[in-house]
Symmetry: D2
Subunit: 339 residues, 4 copies
């Protein structure tokens, strides 16, 4: 059960409400986000909704029986728009294109990517400064110095920054330099990290776990939302299966399913989803037709010299072509009558 | 190694060639298909290709080190076109749309589907008369009577028949009534069935196994080809993974990978691929953008009353809309510069 | 619903019963096996069991709501014993040891294996004469000639033959030379083959599908049973997962789960289950402790020279040691109070 | 390459060595643990090992080409023993039995478990005070208060504590109250947590990821080892597959494979591995025969009233029986000649 509270709820009334709901055999979690206040009641007993619904201070009340609640479409049918400022947003009905290198490497590299983006009218840049690596001996990113440098250059260019945060202690130091915190596939169920991102007033893009279910992705988003942060984006990036001809198995089924279950925007990462450069464009375009609200892919001036993920990274010519195709195909999709 | 023989190879020369190749430490399999004759040499020793290449009767010789050979793009770069007669074909550069019910149920049902198809200018109809069912107590199809009835009606309407063959003994009886033999996902590695289909001059559509790899699908195609039948179509229909929010996980990565490895056309089955009616159109269109040469989906006048698979079957209004969208999106794809 | 019929059911009474059950809204399948006669009613309506139970000719009636029925433990609590003659059986409470090469290769090879078996008091021999191979160019077995040779030698030695049947047309020709027909992992859902094996009075060992569920394995067994053959053995042989450090992932969880759901004996194949010779013994012993009624593993005089599967095949010294350890560990298991 | 340094390496000599190794085109990571000092060289060029091996200060030098190095058996053949004090250890050649509830719930609960353990001569207790839960609304454990209470009671009883640490900031506060830090399956690739656990002089038990490979588990252990902590235990606890008849698929193949690749002890968790109470004993015993050095399973006075995981938790009678059976079967295993 989700109880949406009114902005002007009378003092003491919230406590009365919690008591009433407890009295029904439900435990209550209070949630206060950037845009609303909610009481989440967890329990199984049936009850007459009118007993609560008529009380003062309540804007609306919804029965949501899924494990995830606040991220569900069952109470909030209107899609959530993630506004990054300066007219830049990730939202249903629009097509966000996010690109950039796997790792931030140098000032020169950043400058080249930004030039490429400006030429193609792209305004959201991805890149890693803290890199999760399965081997402890691999390159782990430029860290905060890299992020500050990148931020200075991106800000001048009017470009938004999407980058991975790996642990709680990084949130505060990164905060001023980031537009979208990315939670990587290995951290989708790092619940402490999700809890802390709930306390932040910044957008969070959550990647599906390496072998995470659609349900688990929604529950991870529920962590952040119930922590207080509604600015969430879901990302399909491929799952681990027995098939080894591709790096991951891009599960585009997840796109319409997530869109039907949640009001949050959904983006697709074809670079990790297939892991083979020459096929990234097809999979990006397939993602658009599956219903994605955005595409996030890797690009680099010289992919073969990239510090990481070069095999799945587009060069700028390929990236320009793809951005144009994404826009064309999306324009056609908008004319279709799809769910 | 694939040795393409000349049509007019002198008598006795083939035997001489086989001896030579054996002499290199290679075992030889002779293959004679509708359009060519080949010697397949299997071995590992390196040798000077000129020693054989210059001999009489040889048109060309190719080193193909993959497990599959005749279906590989390495020796035959030009895509294979599967011609069904009357100007109907499944081929690269075109978009085949195959639709129809899961099961053939009755004359009335067939007539309705055919009407729907004619209205939408569709000419390839799918349907099952022999149904593989995991429970022995479930409906197993109308069998040969159903097929004969269907054939009569389809022929009058100029519509081609795509239907599953489940065992060797059915091939002969079905032969006169079928345009494309379908090998189902549970039979992808039924090697005896593949062997026998190699002896038939009819197109064969092979579905990827329930948890088959891309490599195994190509090897299954190799069985039919090396048995003598080049008229092959590959079909991605979703694989089994841990994710249970969809019936299968449609692996669209397989489309560009198959197209890059093989000269055979590739079609996508979004109905089994996601298993949820309302999302079949998105996944069909995603399949087109991933590079498919055709889409095969289930349709029925009244899906909720279908004998099987109703939950993933489109009604005729949805099917008409989808066929139109597939054509539009494919027309746009053709203007793109994709692999 | 399973209705067990009496042996001496009055003439015409079966037809009356079927009519009654149809009248309840249930479809009826008649099953007649080596040891009993049954009516299987499939339907969903609730009804008063006494309405049928009291009728003449009925021995017992059971409500079984699973998809599989005749193989379920819900109606037949007593474990089924598969008697191969000469005091050799595969059954609960006993430990069957089945060994032999992947492929039958030559008279000398067979003789050596039989000698090894006699020395170790082993009486069930496995081996392939028809080999399913993913590549059409690989060795496909010695066929009927190999089987006849093997049968002559095994019979003299009092050894039973377990071998794979790949297609319907082989059943009749193999019948006289086989003690247990094996259905391979690629044929677990070859429903025509299962149907035909239902008509045979010979034991059938069904391997779990390459990525088959436990439920599907039971349904495949239901095919054979409902076709008329109760002599069934289930086999766990590893499933396909993302993990590639082993050939398959041996799912020993399946052993207690199968034993709790079905009255059929369960054997474990550690050779295919891990695919690495040096670890086959540990996995065989683990299978015993998981509750298996038998172990089937590959052995060969000289595994490194075996035509196939050498990497997972034990030599005779290893096999002797393992057989002894299986017996010891099983003797200890019998003293334990396990389900 | 692993260079083991001498304890008495002359001052300045390490720097000289690093320079030399860099000169070979290798990057160098310095590792200093509780028991040794190492230089890890990462690179691909071949070189003459004698050029370095003869230098002062080097105890030994090993070429290890796997992605993991310090946890590999290739340089350290002797198994690592994890000594917890008071004669309690987890090590090859011995059988550690770790048991206790999923969650620490109350003083009474702890007392009951400890009594049960003392009666059965068990000395390592598991339990969660910080619980990773996929839903933000579920019970998250008693936290530090629960741990302190538990520690007081366990210490009096001479029992060692194994408990999960979920984030970096908990390490320091938990340090004094924990004998073995457990890294849960959702944190196996939480690299920051692994890094920090590398700085701690306490044993760390790393569970295999929800769908982690064997290779990834070893790389995660490499993180901790290369951070400075050699006291590592690996744990197989089941992986995620398509099979839903069990909670996870216990991959016992991993046991002999891990033991052959690494010098670290390996324990098996049958409770999470199958997730069904009545089958936990069989899977525990199977784990012993697969070669495990220990078993970790859940027990509770009244499993049906446990806060979490009750369905897979043994009651005390079952636990006593199992501990006895584990010891008997392990005693027999020691008489066998297994790898």
């Amino acid at each position: 059960m989700i109880i949406q509270l009114k902005q002007d709820i009378p003092s003491g009334q919230k406590e009365t409400l919690i008591e009433k709901v407890n009295g029904l055999g439900y435990t209550v979690t209070e949630v206060k986000t950037q845009v609303g206040a909610y009481l989440i009641g967890i329990g199984k007993k049936a009850f007459d909704i009118r007993k609560i619904g008529a009380l003062d201070g309540i804007q609306d009340i919804h029965i949501v029986s899924d494990e995830y609640k606040l991220v569900s479409k069952k109470w909030k049918v209107k899609p959530t728009s993630i506004d990054l400022g300066d007219g830049i947003a990730i939202k249903d009905g629009d097509m966000a294109i996010i690109t950039g290198p796997c790792s931030i490497e140098s000032e020169e590299q950043i400058v080249k990517v930004i030039e490429h983006m400006k030429e193609n009218n792209l305004s959201m840049m991805r890149g890693g400064v803290f890199k999760p690596r399965s081997s402890p001996y691999a390159f782990r990113g430029l860290g905060m110095e890299g992020l500050k440098l990148w931020h200075r250059l991106a800000k001048e260019a009017g470009i938004k920054i999407v980058t991975e945060v790996m642990q709680v202690s990084q949130i505060e130091q990164m905060y001023d330099y980031v537009d979208v915190f990315q939670v990587g596939a290995r951290n989708t169920q790092n619940f402490n990290l999700l809890d802390e991102l709930g306390k932040v007033d910044k957008a969070v893009l959550i990647k599906r776990g390496i072998s995470g279910t659609i349900e688990e992705l929604l529950q991870s988003a529920e962590y952040v939302f119930s922590g207080g942060n509604e600015k969430l984006i879901l990302c399909e990036r491929g799952i681990r299966t027995y098939e080894k001809a591709s790096r991951n198995t891009l599960d585009l089924n997840a796109v319409p399913i997530l869109k039907s279950k949640s009001h949050l925007p959904v983006v697709v990462d074809p670079s990790h989803g297939i892991g083979i450069r020459e096929f990234v464009p097809q999979m990006a375009l397939a993602g658009v037709m599956a219903g994605a609200d955005g595409i996030i892919y890797e690009s680099h001036e010289n992919p073969d010299k990239a510090y990481s993920d070069g095999q799945q990274t587009l060069n700028f010519a390929q990236s320009s072509l793809l951005a144009d195709q994404i826009r064309k195909i999306f324009a056609m999709r908008k004319t279709f009558d799809l769910l």
